[in-house]
């Protein structure tokens, strides 16, 4: 079984950081698990935490007045859920729910934010890496706006 240090060091979002940077990040991390159906985050909550999913899957849901919530994305093992901890107003935009048993690493985003203010090299690294996550989500959202299944086929 991998140690928390190894899981974090090998994850795409933290891969290649210096040993000192990794040690600080590991100090802000803890293993967590969520049962199927458990709500992890509610939209509007303070975004002081983000998660690296190690096993299972979580869903991002958006409440729609007078309708059932819309499931707008799922995040699977190996991916990170949560970028709002890095960008004001540090508030979750969606509900996050475990759709199955989830094992994850939870990071203290508030702690990391403070560190990024004083350690600009780490701040730059993290912002660059989370920008990639944001761009990926933006592109996926734009592709979905294309309604790629909407045109006629045979």
């Amino acid at each position: 079984m991998k140690t928390l240090d190894a899981v974090i060091a090998e994850s795409p979002v933290f891969f290649g950081l210096t040993q000192e940077q990794l040690e600080f990040i590991v100090g802000c991390a803890q293993n967590v698990h969520f049962e199927e159906g458990q709500r992890i985050v509610k939209a509007g909550d303070s975004a002081d935490t983000f998660y690296l999913i190690r096993m299972g899957e979580v869903a991002l849901d958006l409440d729609v007045p007078n309708k059932k919530p819309v499931r707008i994305d799922t995040v699977e093992a190996g991916q990170v859920v949560g970028w709002s901890w890095l960008i004001p107003p540090y508030e979750w935009k969606y509900d996050v729910t475990a759709t199955e048993l989830v094992r994850a690493v939870a990071f203290d985003g508030a702690c990391l934010r403070g560190k990024c203010d004083t350690d600009t090299a780490l701040g730059y690294e993290l912002l660059s890496r989370f920008a990639l996550i944001l761009v990926g989500r933006l592109q996926a959202t734009r592709f979905r706006l294309l309604d790629i299944y909407g045109t006629d086929t045979h």
């Binding site: 059932k68 994305d73 729910t97 996926a140 979905r144 299944y149 909407g150 006629d152 086929t153 045979h154």
Partner: protein
């Protein structure tokens, strides 16, 4: 060996609709129906996987519709049709007992023989599943002849998925790596949410010895093909089915011409290597 009338250009047989009666009808989504057809006279035609027929709503017009039947066992023709224009709306409105005209089968087939011994990766988008259904059934029936079988199916919403119960039964009854994804779901949806391309990186197959079959709108096939190439599956091993306005079915009229190729005669199944550059040309 599947029949094809494409090579009989100009013959009476290729150009004359044969009367078929609608023997069963099922609504798949809000705008999509599946019709089962039996000939009123003579033996039924037997389209191969990937081939299409021209269906004629008498007095309205004729459209090309892919074969969706299980060609290994079905004696009836099965066609899944989305009601988008006058002819497809007329076909979808046809009740059991209605007689429509059928010409075909036309075009080439999925290379299911060439895929034997290899992993098979099938990616369908929306109503793109029915044209792949005959190939899927062939692989399932001859499961031991193929390697891993990966089936990835994406749609706009769960209610836009066709043959969903059947797809889930394949996963239960056969050795199939099935993954489903929708652009947007609700909290009852248990599958993934996002683009169908998201399913490709984690899919388990041997890119050195696999064949990929893709059907969906061209923009979806483009993204999927690129993602398969990112997994090192060569463009020559990726097959797509092109949708064009086939009219004659035998390569005479030119309505379905894409650059140097006539889709009804040379396709509709092509390797991605053959059509990637053609589909990048806006005017085509």
């Amino acid at each position: 060996m599947a029949q094809t009338l494409t090579e009989t250009a100009g013959s009476l047989e290729a150009m004359t609709p044969v009367p078929y009666a609608v023997t069963a009808k099922r609504q798949d989504t809000y705008d999509t129906w599946t019709l089962e057809l039996e000939p009123q006279n003579g033996a039924p035609i037997v389209p191969g996987p990937g081939q299409f027929n021209m269906l004629y709503a008498f007095g309205v017009g004729e459209v090309p519709i892919s074969n969706a039947g299980n060609f290994d066992t079905d004696e009836r023709l099965v066609h899944t049709i989305r009601a988008v224009g006058a002819v497809t709306k007329a076909l979808c409105a046809a009740e059991v007992g209605t007689v429509i005209g059928v010409r075909g089968p036309f075009g080439n087939t999925w290379p299911i023989e060439d895929a034997k011994g290899k992993d098979v990766v099938i990616v369908a988008g929306g109503i793109g599943l029915p044209p792949l259904r005959p190939a899927i059934y062939h692989v399932l029936k001859n499961r031991k002849d193929y390697g891993r079988f990966v089936l990835l199916y994406g749609a706009r919403t769960p209610s836009d998925m066709v043959f969903l119960d059947e797809v889930k039964s394949w996963q239960c009854n056969y050795d199939v790596d099935l993954d489903l994804i929708v652009d947007a779901g609700d909290t009852d949806w248990k599958g993934k949410v996002g683009l169908v391309t998201k399913l490709i990186p984690p899919a388990e197959f041997d890119a050195d010895d696999a064949r990929g079959f893709i059907v969906g709108p061209e923009i979806m096939m483009k993204f999927v093909a690129q993602e398969l190439i990112n997994r090192d599956l060569p463009a020559e091993s990726i097959y797509v089915s092109l949708e064009r306005t086939m009219r004659c079915g035998v390569g005479l009229c030119g309505h379905c011409q894409v650059g140097p190729t006539i889709v009804c005669r040379d396709g509709a199944v092509y390797t991605w290597a053959e059509v990637e550059n053609l589909l990048a040309v806006k005017e085509l």
